[in-house]
């Protein structure tokens, strides 16, 4: 493969993988199922990345104050 998928981050930034996780279209499923059949060693890392995308991103992250400050800036900039 031209771009190696070795780390969790490699999967997290892969457009096709992100769409596979959230959209589950038949062509994406077909592609990734085939990919994991050919590269079974990559599957555990991909599963971790999938778990992060689906379940771990709701953890506390940005503070409410930062969130509001950023929102004010966005709203000011679209006016």
């Amino acid at each position: 493969m031209k771009h190696e998928l070795n780390t969790i981050e490699d999967f997290l930034i892969n457009d096709s993988f992100i769409r596979f996780v959230f959209e589950q279209t038949s062509s994406l499923k077909e592609y990734w199922d085939s990919f994991f059949r050919q590269h079974p060693d990559k599957e555990p890392v991909a599963k971790e990345a999938e778990h992060i995308l689906l379940y771990e991103l709701d953890a506390p992250g940005i503070t409410l104050a930062e969130q509001e400050k950023l929102k004010e800036k966005i709203l000011a900039d679209i006016k």
Partner: protein
């Protein structure tokens, strides 16, 4: 998902909530935009934290992603999944900004730990075309409508970025994506004959 009551929308399921908010935003509803931000900013921030340690850069990129969403709100109907759209937009923005910084900096690429642009879709088309020869691919491409052929050729053969194809074909980002997507579907259907 955060509980926020100001719009009286709690109790709805998240997906229905988001798709309703998106259609309100398409009509220019600023409250819907604000609510979409509230619902997704923490998730995006946490996603970005996996890709960069620079929190200020990350917030700037989230800012730009939401500005783009607002400015392109009329095209949101084309978005098939808002979460993957958000993640991919933020990742692309982080990549672009990181690349800019590398260009303006004397630091080596390794030191900046840039986020490499991934493009498994190139491998995807290779996979799609695996069973057919190069000549057959060209033959199949010639059977596509001219715009689809042009978009697929630019993307997969000339390896142009979506942004560049938008300029070359004078189309917006989502329309280019859709065109390429339709082209792939069409290629698959004609190659199966």
């Amino acid at each position: 998902m955060k509980e926020q009551n100001e719009n009286g929308m709690d109790g709805m399921t998240a997906d229905a909530d988001v798709s309703q908010l998106l259609s309100l935003l398409q009509k220019g509803d600023a409250k819907a935009f604000s609510r979409l931000y509230d619902l997704h900013v923490n998730m995006l921030f946490n996603y970005g934290c996996r890709l960069t340690t620079d929190k200020e850069l990350l917030k700037d990129c989230i800012h730009d992603v939401f500005i783009k969403i607002y400015n392109k709100r009329e095209d949101l109907g084309e978005v098939s999944n808002f979460k993957s759209y958000l993640f991919i937009s933020l990742k692309n923005k982080l990549c672009d900004e990181t690349r800019k910084r590398i260009n303006y900096s004397d630091l080596s690429v390794e030191e900046l730990n840039p986020i490499a642009p991934e493009n498994v879709e190139n491998d995807y088309i290779r996979f799609e075309a695996e069973s057919v020869s190069c000549r057959k691919v060209k033959h199949l491409l010639n059977q596509l409508p001219p715009r689809q052929k042009e978009a697929l050729t630019l993307y997969y053969i000339e390896e142009k970025k979506y942004e560049d194809i938008c300029v070359l074909m004078n189309m917006n980002y989502q329309s280019v994506r859709n065109l390429i997507h339709r082209g792939i579907l069409k290629l698959r259907s004609i190659s199966a004959i």
